[in-house]
């Protein structure tokens, strides 16, 4: 497995923007928070002062009906001014929102990376698009993107409504079956950002995360070049045995490993499984122990997931794991 200990811990936090889009929204947040806090303090203070200064009475005190005789002009003046101030505050918020919307729509898109994301119950299918079709490749649940270059993510769904949310980078967008949506973002600081499905999509909605690795462009291009390669043929006999186990068992009914005869697309593409930090859609570390448990009985880790249990002889399982470790 890839040694990931040197990388930063994944972040999933809207208050720590790492990209221009989240920055724009963050600025609007600061303005709005400030204004709303001010209003809250003023109105609450008015209420508390009213209570503090008003004389006390009880049920037997005669009520004051002077307001029924004529209008209360001073009171009305204050109410009108307060309403006017409230309206101005609302207009400020509206203008702020419109300006932020415009800023979000004006992300420069030259030299963009194009990713097509298809949401499934409960994992993310990704296809990196290119003008040259031979440079396209598929992966799942972990995206790498270059720092400083825009990324255009096309969003579709294979079943129910999902929502892509990577709070450090951008707001969210729904993946709706029958429709195609687009999310435009850019990472401006390197790091590992965690995203999560943000629209209730069924039993394991809670376990549908994805990782976004933002890295300098050269490292991104190196990663992409590697992803484009088909899986290397297994070197040692144990891995060869694992390769045979993979092709003989039900794995091939759902998974693709480019460079082998396994080409099904019902589950995540495993061609470069070993290059990913996590399994089960961002939920568990990608190491031997977890992978063994996942393959043997995915239901014990993520009940209801669409992958069946696989009763493998221990030697077969170890060989399979050794083979999967070669899929870097």
């Amino acid at each position: 497995m890839r040694d990931v200990s040197h990388l930063m811990k994944p972040m999933q936090d809207a208050l720590r923007p790492a990209g221009v889009q989240a920055d724009h929204i963050g600025s609007l947040w600061n303005l709005t928070l400030g204004l709303c806090t001010l209003v809250f303090i003023l109105v609450l203070a008015a209420c508390l002062v009213a209570l503090w200064r008003a004389p006390r009475a009880d049920a037997g005190s005669a009520p004051d009906l002077s307001s029924l005789a004529g209008p209360e002009r001073r009171t009305w003046r204050v109410i009108k001014w307060a309403t006017g101030a409230a309206t101005v505050g609302l207009l400020v918020l509206l203008v702020g929102d419109v300006l932020t919307s415009r800023a979000l729509a004006r992300l420069p898109l030259q030299d963009a990376v194009n990713i097509e994301l298809v949401g499934h119950q409960w994992w993310w299918e990704a296809r990196y698009r290119d003008a040259d079709p031979s440079r396209e490749f598929s992966t799942a649940n972990e995206l790498h993107i270059p720092v400083g270059r825009p990324v255009i993510v096309t969003l579709r769904s294979g079943d129910v409504i999902h929502s892509l949310w990577i709070p450090n980078l951008q707001g969210k967008k729904d993946l709706i079956p029958g429709r195609t949506a687009t999310l435009r973002l850019r990472a401006d600081r390197a790091g590992t950002y965690r995203g999560q499905c943000a629209e209730f999509c069924g039993l394991e909605h809670a376990m549908m995360a994805l990782l976004v690795e933002a890295e300098p462009n050269e490292r991104y291009e190196a990663w992409a070049a590697q992803q484009r390669q088909p899986a290397a043929a297994p070197g040692d006999p144990v891995a060869q045995r694992g390769h045979d186990v993979f092709l003989a068992r039900s794995c091939v009914m759902c998974h693709t490993i480019a460079g082998t005869s396994a080409g099904a697309k019902l589950g995540p593409d495993l061609t470069h499984l070993a290059s990913r930090r996590t399994i089960a859609s961002g939920m568990f570390p990608n190491n031997r122990g977890h992978l063994a448990g996942w393959i043997a009985d995915p239901q014990s880790l993520k009940p209801g997931v669409n992958m069946p249990a696989n009763a493998l002889a221990p030697d077969d399982l170890q060989a399979l794991l050794a083979y999967l470790e070669t899929l870097k």
Partner: protein, 651 residues
């Protein structure tokens, strides 16, 4: 000169006539007999007196509130720690679906209609609501629908697609079985009940006000119920259509929501939220009426700005129908359209702001009687205010892109629903409990109730704002430890326990006070509106002397001649019908007295609704008993018709 109503007179039943002889002998007993419910089991099912039905309705909705609260505690126990094992994923999804559905459909709107059903006739000087049997039918239908949903839940076939049941998840392909069908049919039950109650309230308010109670003199609470009821007429049909289309998609293969055959997943969202946004105002507007009633009484003065308050209610009602897309900002609808809904969502804050300013002005210029009802009402100014401000944040499309479907929204919705509706509702219970039962709730327990609720609420829900901003999405049954959300979730759970304890205190207060509470006079709070002019609890016919009204606060203002009405019989349930705007006399009507047919018809309708979950043919065969029941319900009796003809005066 300001004069408080004479409590002696009210106790003797001679108010508002200061020099008159009051009731003739035997009249009060005849009135009581005529309007009472019959005894025995059959009698219990035959009751149609609006106060009887309203009390049952309030108790039933409160039971659903308690059930929904227990579900909330279950959610909080599961989320208190990362990787919680209290509830499995499947059970958790059912629990949060049931919590939302219970609170929104089985508690929040119906309880407001229930309280109104009790108070509105008393506030407008009427002896009944306009359609007593339909009122009873609505109660039974509501209750049976709620029971159906819970039976399904306890049989482990409860709905699990969220209270909002987005398609395609809730459609036939991804939610097989009958779970979602029970949810969709529960909608049919509860929306039918709400629509009927709305018709009853509108007709009662417009046609049965005491003579002299022009629209301009109506209590603000009655205005809120009028406005809310009109909103119900336009909002509920949207969810009924949406859920009917969902049922047909699931049961007989229609394709409304199936993109593969020309349907659209967003059609559901549009229809649902066109109902769903006004729905939260159905919940929010009646408590604005509680606020006005309580603030006036406990500030010892009329609420500032009656016309502005009324216009604010009407403006809020209209605007509420123009906001629904703000629930759909994360979809791929056109951006320009979304900004329109931001503007509308911001604008609706203005009428609410006007109301808040008027209430604060009332408190500022009044003399305060700081009792428990007022405490609960004051919580609005902290909690609803904060919730409304986070609402402004969510109204912005750009901010919503980050905040939508996170715990920030959970925080917001609970701040507005509890701050704007539940706290004032508790204030209303403390305020009107003496009127309903004849006894005061304990003031000491009330204060404990209040402070525990207020503190528990903020401890439970404020951390959720932060959790949402820190990335915690909604409707997740657990979360990994490394996210760092554990501490705030634990804090929130502690707060939830505090809320549960405070509600327990309330229940204790109610049960103890029913037996041992201080006896209440007709007007223990020194209030100004008509419900306080009659005994606590009121006689079964509400008003021994139907008043003639000359001002907004009849008990505070000097009575003016003519003081009251005569000539209504006490031998039958006779009511006075007046004109819409000025409550001028129009005619008299005999309303139906007790009958079991609303209950029977509700049972027949329940069989129709539940049957059609399983087969479309149920609509055909089950409509026969419904038709029979409705026909017998309607069919007039010979004896009563003969009496009516004998006493008939043609128009």
């Amino acid at each position: 000169m300001t004069v408080r109503g004479d409590t002696d007179q009210r106790a003797r039943g001679t108010w508002p006539d200061p020099t008159g002889p009051g009731l003739p002998p035997g009249a009060a007993q005849a009135l009581e007999r005529t309007w009472s419910d019959p005894p025995g089991i059959v009698g219990w099912f035959s009751a149609v007196n609006h106060k009887t039905i309203a009390k049952r309705f309030m108790v039933t909705t409160f039971i659903f509130f308690l059930l929904g609260g227990l579900l909330a505690v279950a959610i909080r126990l599961q989320l208190a720690q990362p990787n919680g094992k209290v509830l499995s994923a499947d059970l958790y999804n059912q629990v949060f679906t049931m919590h939302g559905s219970t609170m929104m459909f089985l508690f929040a709107v119906p309880v407001m209609q229930a309280v109104a059903m009790y108070l509105v006739p008393l506030m407008i000087g009427a002896r009944s609501v306009a359609f007593p049997r339909m009122n009873a039918f609505a109660y039974w239908i509501f209750t049976m629908g709620g029971i159906m949903l819970y039976v399904a839940f306890f049989l482990d076939i409860g709905p699990d697609a969220g209270w909002f049941a987005y398609v395609p998840l809730s459609g036939p392909q991804y939610s097989p079985g009958k779970r979602v069908d029970f949810w969709a049919q529960m909608i049919t039950f509860t929306e039918l009940a709400a629509l009927m109650e709305a018709i009853v309230l509108i007709t009662t308010i417009l046609k049965m006000r005491a003579p002299g109670m022009t629209l301009n003199r109506m209590p603000l609470f009655v205005w809120t119920m009028l406005v809310t009821s009109f909103m119900v007429l336009f909002a509920m049909p949207a969810v009924m259509l949406a859920s009917t289309a969902l049922i047909t998609d699931r049961l007989v293969g229609t394709h409304f929501y199936n993109p593969g055959e020309g349907g659209d997943a967003l059609l559901w969202q549009h229809l649902f939220w066109f109902f769903g946004h006004p729905e939260v105002y159905l919940i929010f507007i009646p408590p604005l009426g509680f606020m006005s009633s309580i603030i006036a009484t406990f500030s010892r003065r009329p609420v500032v700005g009656y016309p502005a308050m009324v216009l604010a209610l009407i403006a809020t009602a209209f605007l509420a129908f123009g906001l629904w897309v703000h629930h759909m900002f994360a979809t791929n609808l056109p951006e320009l359209g979304k900004t329109f809904f931001t503007a509308a969502s911001l604008m609706i804050a203005i009428p609410t702001a006007v109301q808040i300013f008027c209430w604060i002005a009332t408190l500022w210029t009044g003399r305060i009687n700081l009792k428990t009802p007022l405490l609960f009402v004051l919580a609005f100014f902290a909690i609803l205010l904060l919730g409304g401000l986070t609402g402004l944040m969510l109204a912005s499309v750009s901010l919503d892109y980050q905040l939508h479907d996170t715990f920030f929204v959970v925080a917001h919705l609970h701040y507005v629903l509890l701050g704007g509706a539940v706290f004032p509702l508790f204030g209303a219970f403390y305020y009107w409990f003496p009127k309903f039962t004849g006894r005061m709730l304990s003031e000491r327990l009330g204060r404990w109730n209040f402070w525990l609720f207020f503190i528990g609420f903020n401890v439970a829900f404020f951390p959720m704002h932060i959790l949402g901003l820190q990335g915690m999405t909604r409707r997740i049954y657990t979360y990994p430890e490394e996210m760092g959300w554990g501490n705030l979730n634990l804090l929130s759970t502690i707060g939830a326990v505090g809320i549960a304890l405070s509600v327990l205190l309330f229940v204790v207060n109610v049960l103890r006070s029913r037996r041992h509470g201080e006896l209440a006079s007709s007007d223990p709070w020194g209030a100004g509106t008509l419900e306080w002019s009659v005994a606590s609890p009121p006689p079964m016919g509400n008003f021994p002397l139907v008043p003639v009204v000359h001002g907004r606060y009849p008990l505070w203002q000097q009575p003016v001649a003519p003081y009251h009405v005569t000539g209504l019989t006490n031998e039958y349930r006779e009511v006075l019908v007046t004109s819409v705007a000025d409550a001028k006399l129009d005619h008299r009507l005999w309303l139906p007295s007790s009958t079991p047919w609303p209950f029977v018809a509700a049972v027949a309708t329940t069989i129709l609704f539940i049957g059609s979950i399983f087969t479309p043919w149920a609509i055909v065969w089950a409509s026969v008993p419904v038709a029979v029941a409705a026909t017998v319900w309607f069919w007039p009796g010979r004896a009563i018709t003969r009496r009516r003809v004998e006493t008939e005066v043609q128009p």
